[in-house]
Symmetry: C3
Subunit: 137 residues, 3 copies
């Protein structure tokens, strides 16, 4: 089994941002020379998510509103006694999961018609890191 590892860095302007990283994942796959296997795309922070969904701006706003409804920003999380104010970002991370595995077949991301990979920043305005690991032959 071969492995190829690449890191992406983010420092978003807004607290919450949703960034399409499909092209960066394709580049990592191309660099790897791997034809059969998979790509792990995983946030390295506990206040960010990774998901596969549609690149449609109305939907992304719907998702943001829905996440804020189910895991709202609040002053009084116990976690804030540590001096942080990002309790909601930890819960949003748990809700959407922080990683995906993309199958690789014939040297391509084996995606359905609308699948795109997103990095979901829930506590931005600071440097955050993500790992892309291609594994296979």
């Amino acid at each position: 089994m071969k492995a190829h590892t690449k890191y992406l860095w983010f420092n978003t302007k807004k607290r919450r941002e949703y960034i399409n990283i499909t092209h960066e994942v394709e580049s990592a796959l191309s660099e790897s020379g791997i034809h059969e296997g998979m790509v792990l795309v995983s946030a390295m922070h506990i206040t960010a998510g990774v998901w596969i969904n549609d690149a449609e701006s109305g939907l992304i706003q719907d998702i943001d509103e829905w996440l804020e409804n189910l895991a709202p920003f609040k002053e009084n999380y116990r976690h804030h006694r540590t001096g942080e104010d990002n309790g909601d970002a930890h819960l949003k991370n748990l809700l959407v999961h922080h990683q995906v595995i993309i199958p690789v077949t014939d040297g391509q991301l084996d995606f359905g018609p609308w699948q795109q990979v997103y990095y979901a920043e829930f506590d931005g305005q600071r440097r955050k890191k993500l790992i892309i690991k291609v594994m296979g032959e």
Copy 2:
């Protein structure tokens, strides 16, 4: 590392259906000849999920009701301005995740006593695709 890839197609009669695909995953594993590794089972659409849970009909109704409560069908998602009416299905997909990895040990799915793989259709009555990818030795 060896890889064996298989696709399943669905076209459900109802908008939401939950289909036990454990047997199809076992067949793919058997065809692969792989004894140690894993199976990736992943929806190729952004309005369907894959989960591992119990094959118990009351529970499946509970899950359906719970999903409809947390990610309800509504008329006024922004996504619907594109002409779609499936905004809720995108949110349900994010909530339950669209993929699982099943460990393979000694040529078998290495499952606990009640684990079964389900395809969860949230926007059916159209052709949808799923990938099963067995990887290992």
Copy 3:
């Protein structure tokens, strides 16, 4: 591809408990001799979860309260007609997902600064099993 498999057993005193298993995962990796690849950590029961998040006690209480809010214990789940009373634990499992994949680079878990692996028991006071499978070279 090499594979190394290890099982952990739990029998928690309380119904819900959150157990940091990062050290056990590191031990399994060390035993495997694998330097490049990944570790699958997956609950083998459908009433428990596995997540990666912060080892901060206030946050863990926040998560527990949040899960109880979104997937509450209730008497009247249909699943309870089978004689069980753990319908909420099945829903909590679906909400947080039951598995994570940890990348392995240079013989180490390739984690960001705050990432820790937790076993989340939602229906304890009985014997439960988890699989750690290290795969790579």
